[in-house]
Symmetry: C2
Subunit: 401 residues, 2 copies
């Protein structure tokens, strides 16, 4: 697998652009379009929150035919809790984008992120759509990646190339997310493009699986948003024999690249958790089943006490074990070993005399690796999170204002 | 119902004392004994964490006969994740206390709170038990309430008197808890005494119900501890006809007082959340069933984003609705009304033009009341939490050190 620079315009036949439409109060990019020059198979995964933004419902309907060619996305306003007007605004965004690009409205997917409960400033959105559509280019992906950010500190872009049946196939992606990230994808948007030829049914199966291993395994603060979605467009320009059997060798090769892309973005999001200083990677090994491993890994990355302890460089393994304990999974705490990096800090559920200096050095690392060995089976899972800092509170105390 | 000063020694026949045994690093009280001069019926409710401190397992065994006469409790060390040694230390604490008080070891319940994974300093514990047992008194309750505190800023004591069958019956209680408080009682200890005559079966039923309405409805940060418990001792000295039927009029009168005690303590704990400036009371009304009301109320009090918004005096009702949405309960977001105090801020799931100044004044109050009206049925629930501040992070970044 070759890592490439760039993101959604790396695969053949994709263009993008991001502009400042005036939806955000500051003068940062806030509207983007991702466009395929050719028809695409498409799939999406959406928030599990009962409260769903208009664009979420809209896209679910749009994807019923498994096809799409463009994505219009804005930051600064979530178009959530906006009732009938919100639904109309989402439809208008799709219609305007289609008109500018010479597409049918049913070819356009819509995404929004930002403040909840405020109607979209549609005049600004309209100008933004026109400006972005008129300047689409292969080099526009960087502007687009900036336009989907809210409290993100860094733009999140990734692309890879693999070979499928002798053809070079590319997958590119961008994402936003830094607060409210939780198992089950909270306030995160992910847009993936590929020039692979793949059926929409196969695409949906693989996107579900990849999201499960990546975006659903990150946590910043336990809040799940109204707007989360991951969308994928596949335009088939790579010329590989179409992937239609999810169990085929080609499908596996594609899936591995897709999971890689998704995990890469998920880690960027977790690391960029509001106010975070560390990426926390929790590896749960030797569980009796996969569900147990996942529940425990996610519970530890979600524990405010564990996150605050990492912020404070405090090797407080008791909080790690306690978070495993209330995960809802059943396991024998008397068999659990815990490691901070390479340093074993608990054995069989009890404390060890360990090297405090070494443990502190592990906690000082950019990526803090916590390993929990359940010694009960052969399943494992990995989850990612970040530490909890003063800065998180500051950012979230006055977001709306 | 008459509110009395004092706590666990208000009911007839109870003595208490708290001392400094040297378990904590500072010189604050860290060991307490609560003692009844007469045999008691007893009941307990314990943590749901899979990882359970030695004292939790120990007390469950002790309570199998529904009887106890004394509680020994220490702060500064949780005696959790301490394996076989932890179990022996809990047994030794009970045996030492029994010896000092002329009781049998099976009459003594043990509770601990503090750091996880460190063996108990049993020499200090022993001296503390002797010192406390030798100075038990009716006036010792205040010292005892101080001895169970960890990061608590204030001691939590409460007592009431009611009349049952013409007899004055008293219930007194103390609690600790300020961090890790979550639905299902995290790092909280509650000790309740009463001179009511009541069977242990009835006592257990009523304690379960009262805990469900109180301690299980508070949340500080979503972490559930290894050591939580609420214990109740009833010595029958009030002379009322013994309460044995949980559906009787006497039982109802007793239950109402008990719930009042439990809710009072729960609110004190939520208000004393680490670093908190506000008590947040979330009232969910007109739900289709009680479970829905409870899930939504607890989800909102647990939302980091809602908590940070209250800290920042930001009337961000979208976060409240989003937290309801990911609670796991099913409801129609398009029917939800939200109030901050008396100010309606959302109607039918959408924002209103509301008085921002008035909303801010509601958020400045010591107790911030959030009301969510689901307009779907006739069930309601109340949960309590606190805001999330810089101070929470500071306290938890370096607790162990």
């Amino acid at each position: 697998m070759k890592i490439l620079a760039g993101s959604v315009t790396c695969p053949q036949g994709f263009l993008a652009q991001g502009v400042y439409a005036g939806i955000k109060k500051d003068d940062k990019n806030d509207l983007a379009i991702i466009y395929s020059e050719y028809p695409c198979h498409a799939a999406g995964v959406f928030t599990t929150n009962v409260v769903r933004a208009a664009c979420v419902d809209f896209d679910c309907r749009q994807l019923q035919d498994g096809k799409a060619r463009a994505i219009v996305v804005n930051s600064g306003n979530a178009n959530a809790c906006t009732g009938e007007q919100g639904w109309e605004d989402a439809m208008t965004m799709a219609a305007l984008t289609a008109e500018c690009l010479g597409l049918q409205p049913q070819d356009v997917l819509v995404a929004s992120t930002g403040v909840i409960g405020v109607n979209m400033p549609m005049d600004k959105v309209q100008s933004g759509i026109i400006a972005a559509a008129n300047t689409l280019s292969e080099a526009g992906d960087a502007n687009a990646a900036l336009a989907i950010m809210t409290t993100d500190l860094i733009n999140k872009e990734i692309a890879v190339e693999i070979e499928i049946g002798g053809q070079a196939v590319r997958i590119g992606a961008m994402a936003k997310g830094s607060g409210m990230i939780h198992p089950n994808m909270a306030t995160m948007l992910g847009f993936i493009t590929t020039d692979a030829a793949i059926s929409s049914k196969c695409l949906q199966i693989m996107l579900n699986a990849a999201v499960n291993k990546s975006f659903n395994m990150i946590s910043v603060d336990g809040d799940t948003s109204t707007n989360d979605m991951v969308l994928i467009l596949a335009n088939g320009r790579a010329g590989n024999h179409i992937i239609d059997d999810p169990d085929s060798k080609d499908a596996l090769a594609f899936y591995q690249a897709l999971e890689n892309i998704a995990v890469g973005l998920a880690k960027m999001i977790a690391r960029d958790g509001e106010g975070a200083n560390h990426l926390i990677e929790v590896q749960v090994n030797n569980a009796a089943d996969e569900k147990t491993a996942r529940m425990i890994a996610r519970s530890i990355t979600s524990s405010s006490l564990t996150k605050a302890a990492v912020f404070g460089l405090d090797a407080n393994w008791g909080r790690i074990l306690a978070a495993a304990g209330y995960s809802g999974a059943s396991f024998d705490p008397g068999r659990v070993d815990i490691y901070l990096g390479a340093e074993m800090v608990a054995r069989d559920g009890m404390g060890l005399v360990f090297d405090e200096e070494q443990a502190r050095r592990e906690l000082e690392k950019e990526t803090v690796v916590i390993t929990v060995d359940l010694k009960a089976g052969e399943y494992s899972a990995t989850a990612w999170g970040c530490d909890l800092s003063y800065e998180y509170v500051r950012i979230n105390a006055a977001y709306r204002s």
